[in-house]
C-alpha cells in the first residue's frame, strides 16, 4: 500500500465513506466535509498509523493531500 492509498484508507474510515477517492489535489475546497475538526482527527489518525508526531509547522501547513504526502515522504 503506497502512502496515497494509506491516506485514502484513513480518510475513508474517518468520513465513513468506503467509496471516497482522494488524490494529491484533494482539499477542503473540493471535499467540503474536510473541516478543522476533520483535520484534527485525520492528523491524529496518521500519527497513529505511521507512529510519528507532526510538528506544529507541519500541521499548520496542511492545506491539501499533497501537503500530507510531502510530510510523509520527508519522514520516510
Amino acid at each position: 500500500m503506497n502512502p496515497l492509498q494509506k491516506l485514502q484508507a484513513i480518510f475513508r474510515e474517518y468520513f465513513d465513506d468506503p467509496a471516497l477517492v482522494i488524490g494529491p489535489e484533494t482539499s477542503p475546497a473540493n471535499l467540503p466535509q474536510w473541516d478543522s475538526v476533520a483535520l484534527v482527527h485525520i492528523v491524529l489518525a496518521i500519527e497513529e498509523a505511521y507512529d510519528l508526531r507532526f510538528t506544529m509547522d507541519e500541521v499548520a501547513g496542511i492545506h491539501c493531500v499533497a501537503d500530507l504526502l510531502v510530510i510523509l515522504e520527508a519522514r520516510a
Binding site: P28, P32, D35, S36, V37, L39, V40, H41, V43, L44, M56, V59, A60
Partner: protein
C-alpha cells in the same frame, strides 16, 4: 514557560449578522461597541468587539465574509453561538509550544491579525473540536493593557 500567563482576552460568538447581533447584545446586556466592523480576509471573517462597562474582556462577534468563507460551514453546521475563547499571552511562540505539548492541534499561525493591529494570533483545536485563539500582548487598542491604563479607550458610537 514560567507559570502560565494566559489571560482571557475575548469570547468569540459566531453570528450571521453582526449589526443585528450588536443590537441584541447592546439592548440585552448593555454592551458597548469598541470597534468598527473589521474585515479580516485571512480569517475570511468580519468581526466587531463589544465590552461591558468596566468589563475586563471583550465579546467578539464573528460573521462569515460574503462569498467563500471558512466560517460558512461552521455556521451551517452548528448555527450561531459560542465559537472560541481567546487568550492574550506575553509571547506567542512559547504559548504555542505549551498548547502543542498539551496535544492541542495548531490550525494556523502565528500570523499577524488585522483586527489586532498586526499583533500575531494563532489558532488551536482540541480533540473535541473546541477552538482556542492566542493573541500576543502589546499596547494600543484591544489589548488587556489598555484596560488598566490611565486613559482607557472611549467606546465608539
Amino acid at each position: 514557560m514560567n507559570g502560565l500567563p494566559f489571560q482571557l482576552h475575548h469570547i468569540g460568538l459566531l453570528v450571521k449578522d453582526i449589526n443585528a447581533a450588536t443590537d441584541l447584545q447592546v439592548a440585552r446586556y448593555g454592551y458597548r461597541i469598541e470597534s468598527a466592523i473589521i474585515d479580516d480576509p485571512v480569517q475570511t471573517a468580519q468581526v466587531r468587539f463589544l465590552r461591558l462597562p468596566h468589563g475586563q474582556q471583550w465579546l467578539e462577534l464573528v460573521a462569515p465574509m460574503a462569498g467563500e468563507s471558512k466560517l460558512a460551514n461552521a455556521l451551517a453546521k452548528g448555527g450561531e453561538g459560542l465559537h472560541h475563547l481567546c487568550y492574550e499571552v506575553p509571547e506567542i511562540g512559547p504559548a504555542c509550544e505549551h498548547l502543542w505539548t498539551g496535544r492541542q492541534m495548531m490550525l494556523a499561525g502565528p500570523t499577524p491579525a488585522v483586527a489586532f493591529g498586526g499583533r500575531p494570533i494563532a489558532w488551536f483545536m482540541d480533540r473535541s473540536g473546541f477552538l482556542t485563539e492566542l493573541v500576543e500582548a502589546g499596547s494600543g487598542p484591544l489589548t488587556l493593557a489598555s484596560l488598566i491604563s490611565p486613559h482607557p479607550q472611549e467606546p465608539q458610537q
